[in-house]
Symmetry: C2
Subunit: 636 residues, 2 copies
Amino acid sequence: MNIAVTPPALPEEPNVDLALKDAREQVMQETGTIPTGERAGSRKVYVAGELYPDIRVPFREVAVHPSANEPPVTIYDSSGPYTDPTVTIDIKRGLPLVKSSWQLDRGDIAPVENPREVKPEDNGHASGKNLAPRFDTSHHKVFKGVEGRPVTQYEYAKAGIITPEMEYVAIRENLRREQTAPCIRDGEDFGASIPDFVTPEFVRQEIARGRAIIPHNINHPEVEPMIIGRNFLVKINANIGNSAVLSSVDDEVDKLVWATRWGADNVMDLSTGRNIHNIRDWIIRNSSVPIGTVPIYQALEKVNGVAEDLTWEVYRDTLIEQAEQGVDYFTIHAGVRLPFVPMTAKRVTGIVSRGGSIMAKWCLSHHRESFLYEHFEDICDIMRAYDVSFSLGDGLRPGSIADANDEAQFAELRTLGELTKVAWAKGCQVMIEGPGHVPMHKIKANMDEQLKHCHEAPFYTLGPLTTDIAPGYDHITSAIGAAMIGWFGTAMLCYVTPKEHLGLPDRQDVKDGVITYKIAAHAADLAKGHPAARLHDDALSRARFEFRWEDQFNLGLDPETARKYHDATLPKEAHKTAHFCSMCGPKFCSMKISQDIRRDAQAQNDAGGSLLDAEAGMAEMSAKFRAGGGVVEVKV
Amino acid sequence: MNIAVTPPALPEEPNVDLALKDAREQVMQETGTIPTGERAGSRKVYVAGELYPDIRVPFREVAVHPSANEPPVTIYDSSGPYTDPTVTIDIKRGLPLVKSSWQLDRGDIAPVENPREVKPEDNGHASGKNLAPRFDTSHHKVFKGVEGRPVTQYEYAKAGIITPEMEYVAIRENLRREQTAPCIRDGEDFGASIPDFVTPEFVRQEIARGRAIIPHNINHPEVEPMIIGRNFLVKINANIGNSAVLSSVDDEVDKLVWATRWGADNVMDLSTGRNIHNIRDWIIRNSSVPIGTVPIYQALEKVNGVAEDLTWEVYRDTLIEQAEQGVDYFTIHAGVRLPFVPMTAKRVTGIVSRGGSIMAKWCLSHHRESFLYEHFEDICDIMRAYDVSFSLGDGLRPGSIADANDEAQFAELRTLGELTKVAWAKGCQVMIEGPGHVPMHKIKANMDEQLKHCHEAPFYTLGPLTTDIAPGYDHITSAIGAAMIGWFGTAMLCYVTPKEHLGLPDRQDVKDGVITYKIAAHAADLAKGHPAARLHDDALSRARFEFRWEDQFNLGLDPETARKYHDATLPKEAHKTAHFCSMCGPKFCSMKISQDIRRDAQAQNDAGGSLLDAEAGMAEMSAKFRAGGGVVEVKV
């Protein structure tokens, strides 16, 4: 832990009153405590690009005990510079930039001459000590695509251009397997096209086909590029954000760093209270993962929470505000069309998406089609100019088992498919949001319908929760559905925390949600037969079998918790090399007995016996056994 | 909480020395604190039998707020007399008897004249203060089947006799739906035969076909009968038990009561240290759920932990010892045959079942076929005489993703199928144990192979864990697999706690494991389309949509935790009726907006509008929409 967390100095800013300074000081102090330093037993390593040698792709390397005589295990690392001991973290200044100037050099993007000014309504008219401190954005130059030039990853891919981002994610997806391991293919991928190794050209093709996206606003140069697509590792998203009830800047930055530390690949800022703009600056400038938002939330705040008062102009202004800040993807509920709203009337739980219910209310009160639907091409034009990706929202997703897979849900899904084509034609990257609450037997239909109607655009689902009866445990009810739908082809899983339906997640909830969803995503990768997946399981299982306790902890998703559980009953250091644990004690340890058997057999074998005279001997014995049906004498 | 927990008086027992008395006093004091009283928001109710009017089948009834105008929700209740406020709990005396004397009256069973005496080796030669206090078994009369008479539920079923146990479980499975609710059939059951309502005759048929069991030793009259079978509600088992490292009587009784309070349908006592016999008495006499054991554990203790020294005679004596105590089912690893052991040699994690590794070691060191396999008919004869059910153990289950579905595992499974037929021919009830660690895409094959080779005998699986990379979270890695295999047809799911692979579960782990597995089992019931399943989800979802917070908590699997999470941010009593929560705050509550929409529409409707002029209007609008592809004007 040799990382220096710079104590943030207060910037000069004459228009900040004393109360605000106090607020900022407090924020600084508290965000100064965000978790940094390498993960337990891990080392941060980087791999350079070949096409683009400046690229430095991060990995987390877990070394195992020398007795294992194994290479270290390389793990996908979404934690950003916070776990790099050579980087000085300064929350006030934000993260170092990752993106190079290649787009600027090509003349594809240019600085915006008159970026949008922050307006009082952007922060819900918060003022004085109610106003969250502003992030010093003086170093943040705002860019926009140049008319007539490509700017989105989709456009480059279509034009046959491999971008640095594409090479970056190609390296990232391979987990350095080229160097260390054979390619294990064992799974059922339901028609996916997962390659043995990912090449930059494969990435380009997948993006050009619309089957994958690299969410990466040109105004968020702090992002370490990542890819979302069915033929890549399954990703997870963590939601953070304040609400009108709970609110603080420091909590949200802390949750962001905390979530990515444990493995969140994306973070959505779902803030809905005041200070939305300012909090978002802090989050984006300190985030190495793509940030998503739901712009309608802020737009609604700007019209004082009255859905009927929403207008295209307010919404449009909000899109530009957030695009200039650097939001990487927007959830747009353009599929909540007027004719679909009555389809929800007989539901047990009506409309449960916030954005969906806002738009439904707007449509009904104006007797008009959704302005998001009507202005969809305008929205595309704005988003394309910054390469903000679409996350087409499922405003009519089911909120209970009873409502799963109903008419309203699938009507919206088909509309999202139409809109996908419109967005692609405009050059935008697109993914599709999915449910929700769905019993296990109805999950596959969601994936099948999505693939069919949305033209293989990446699917991004919330859970789904497989039962409604466990408030307080919906990370688990939903992990079941998430793992399954990930297996079936969903590209990113939005986490659900234990607080779902009950309150806003705190730090522990964020961690529980992230770890639970890392499990679901990895279980899905294994089942799909992703060739990078099983190496991790096998390394951990070997450590387990060989009683390398430290390796077992360090290779796990949460070394601290595993160690704590082990030490609860066997705290001594000597127990870390003990050939048993407290579950069974020494006499009953099956792994120990198994090893004894193997050792004895090996000894006999060395002396001319046959038990472990492996394949041949085993096959022979098996054959004898099957033929005779009786007892086979084994010479040991 | 008007239940009186009688302070247990010390029994007269002249051969108890002072140290032992102290130990017992401590035990008494601590077991006196076991959780009793009704569950939050719940009421214990009983339903009488028709064929056997003395039967009193327990349920937990959750009343909802009068504003809902709904009947109370009836929930399966495995918690026994501990949640009945009219019962006085006295751990020292054990539970009141449930079983009537019908078998005795028929002359099918008779008292054993010379029951086996407890021997010093039964408790691992523990003495003095190391010896756990003995339960006063003077009231426990030991019975055995009478030669030539039926004694097992299987034999009665085959003979066409509907026993009181069969009617009991039939009533139990229906959850009083006859009185309150329509029959919702919606699911994919993969060829199961789940009836709309369970009749005693259906139970008999299922048991006679070997597709279900009622594990119920005639010497465990405290049991509230329950059924395990693919065409019934999915059940869960909780493992408790001490080890050589950790040991105490009070902890185990507490865990037993705690596990059943949260919903464990069965409990296995997997103790492996000293005092196995005495601890088991305490557990059985205080258990209203069937208790399972793995007799080889105690047999091994009797030969001082040296697997090679195990003999049929020691094992046989242990079976009788435990059968007379009242163990309801035995895990018997008779499928670990000598020829299969070498098949595990190349595995990543060898043999991970304790029983399996003990038998493997025995087989190899003696160069002999397993004595469990060779004496299988003798084992049947013993178990039949007390109606101890078989749980045919999967000693060669995979202990890692790498080893799933391998040759060793399936060779053993086929052997278990052979043995099932032998056991049935002897009149025994049988279920089959299953894995283990299995990635999602290999789970269904486990169920299919089991159904095929084991003749539809109930499957009872541990998890399976769907990835190896999350020590500390294996309740979750396994809940994913458990829910899926339950859906596919597994009848009982053995829980996995967060401490799996790391240590013995404590109280919190037991609760986490049970709740997690209740989720998995219920998700499976929903997906199978069990007609009793969705009523619970729907009732909770309606409560959620109508902001009946107290109902939402009380209908959940864990009201205390749900309430705590909610109150973390909105603690005031007024918030329990608030039409929002802290997740979104009042302005953004989709459910509130949804209700507003509905209310507005209803008002318009009452005034002659058409939005909620439901089916007709909606169909019309949908049709117009589909035909026109454009904007449809909706009259609200």
